[in-house]
């Protein structure tokens, strides 16, 4: 007489889970009827699952615990908003610190300008309602969609010009190949911006166009920031 094979580990857990597929169910049930060892093991697993589901899931945390954790979170959030300047330090790190401070100040300038430009991008999207019905040409409190986009574009151009002016000041420090690559990329982006603005002029209520324009603005700001750091 052959000794019946015991259930596989996979089958035992599937029985405990209640996920055994119907094809195996009959064979497994027949085996469990004859095998005390497997039956006892499955019972243990089922007991575990019952206990797991029976115990209350506590998701509480005392106010003191939450209070304890919040200052650390807040401090990191606040730090991430501002690029720190290195403090005055000993002679052994003065070179490191002064150069890092210069780099950080430069990054700070670009970061500030790019955040300002990015804020302009945000304004473009926020001030023009997202689902203006085609027949609805009166938009919120910001005037017509075209006037809002035009105004925001003007603000963007002012900020971009600031970045471009700074780039011009650094142009003499750039290697010719670098300057050429930057100019090439700026040309590509400016072409895209021009096409999008032309398209918006014909279809001012198209949110997809505004999103694409915002994306192009962001690309330009980021390129100018990278260019400033490459000097």
């Amino acid at each position: 007489m052959n000794t019946p094979r015991h259930l596989t580990e996979e089958d035992r857990h599937a029985v405990a889970d209640g996920t055994l597929d119907s094809q195996r169910a009959t064979d497994v049930a027949a085996h469990l009827a004859e095998c005390e060892s497997c039956t006892a093991d499955v019972a243990r697993l089922r007991k575990l699952m019952r206990r797991l589901h029976a115990e209350p899931v506590t998701t509480s945390a005392s106010p003191a615990t939450l209070d304890d954790m919040w200052p650390g979170i807040r401090a990191r959030i606040e730090r991430s908003k501002v690029v720190p300047l290195a403090p005055a330090n000993t002679a052994s790190t003065s070179t490191v610190v002064s150069d890092r401070a210069a780099t950080v100040r430069r990054r700070s300038l670009w970061l500030t300008a790019s955040l300002a430009a990015a804020a302009v991008v945000f304004i473009i999207l926020e001030r023009v309602p997202r689902d203006v019905a085609p027949e609805d040409t009166a938009v919120g409190s910001g005037g017509t969609p075209m006037s809002v986009v035009a105004e925001s574009s003007r603000v963007y151009e002012q900020e971009a010009n600031t970045l471009l002016n700074d780039l011009e000041l650094q142009r003499s420090l750039l290697r010719p190949q670098t300057a050429a690559a930057i100019d090439h990329d700026l040309h590509i982006i400016d072409q895209a911006i021009a096409e999008l603005k032309d398209a918006i002029a014909h279809d001012p209520n198209n949110p997809a166009l505004r999103r694409l324009l915002a994306s192009s603005y962001r690309q330009k700001v980021e390129l100018l920031k990278r260019a400033g750091l490459s000097g």
């Binding site: 115990e55 939450l66 807040r74």
Partner: protein, 191 residues
């Protein structure tokens, strides 16, 4: 090292998305720290519980909760309301914990990659058996990789395929770790 703020992402949510993002979330997305604190106080208990279960260490769980909410602040602009914020935060927390486990030498997910590791059996048998022990205490005694898979599957309800995707291990390995975790728990809980 904290990633630099890259400025707001495209806020081009559709009207349906806007409807699903409540005012507090929107204010937090726009940089209102007080609004973000409200979200933190509302969701931190669940996040802490998840981290505590997956890590088995209260102090470490609190540290990672801070990481979770700092990441949430940095990525909140990408939340478009397609799921509940709790779900979004939950997923973020799982990722933060898994990343920690990957980078930690002591308790790495490499335990998942190597299912025959001795640490599993050793720790399971070394675990204190106590009839009054609750599930959380028992789970805390599991090795890190097995604990993570058990929490993700049996407590959080992810499937083996989902766990495999999140952890980068094969579904078969995830199943094997789950089974071993359950075996260890039956011994720890004296079932």
């Amino acid at each position: 090292m904290q990633p630099r703020m890259s400025g707001p992402t495209e806020a081009g949510a559709t009207t349906d998305d806007v409807g699903r993002i409540d005012d507090v979330v929107r204010r937090a997305q726009q940089g209102d720290v007080q609004a973000f604190e409200l979200l933190y106080r509302s969701h931190a208990p669940a996040v802490l519980t998840l981290c505590r279960r997956m890590l088995g260490d209260e102090q470490l769980a609190r540290e990672l909760v801070q990481d979770v909410f700092v990441h949430a602040w940095e990525r909140l602009t990408s939340f478009r309301g397609q799921s509940a914020l709790a779900t979004w935060l939950h997923r973020l927390a799982v990722n933060v914990v898994l990343e920690h486990l990957r980078s930690s030498k002591r308790d790495a997910l490499r335990l998942i990659e190597d299912p025959d590791e001795e640490a599993f059996g050793g720790r399971a048998f070394d675990g204190q058996i106590d009839a009054r022990m609750d599930i959380d205490s028992a789970v805390a005694q599991l090795p890190g990789g097995a604990r993570a898979v058990f929490v993700l599957h049996d407590i959080q309800g992810y499937s083996h395929d989902e766990i495999a995707q999140m952890t980068g291990i094969a579904p078969g390995t995830a199943r094997a770790q789950l089974f071993r975790a359950r075996r260890a728990l039956t011994r720890l809980l004296d079932l």
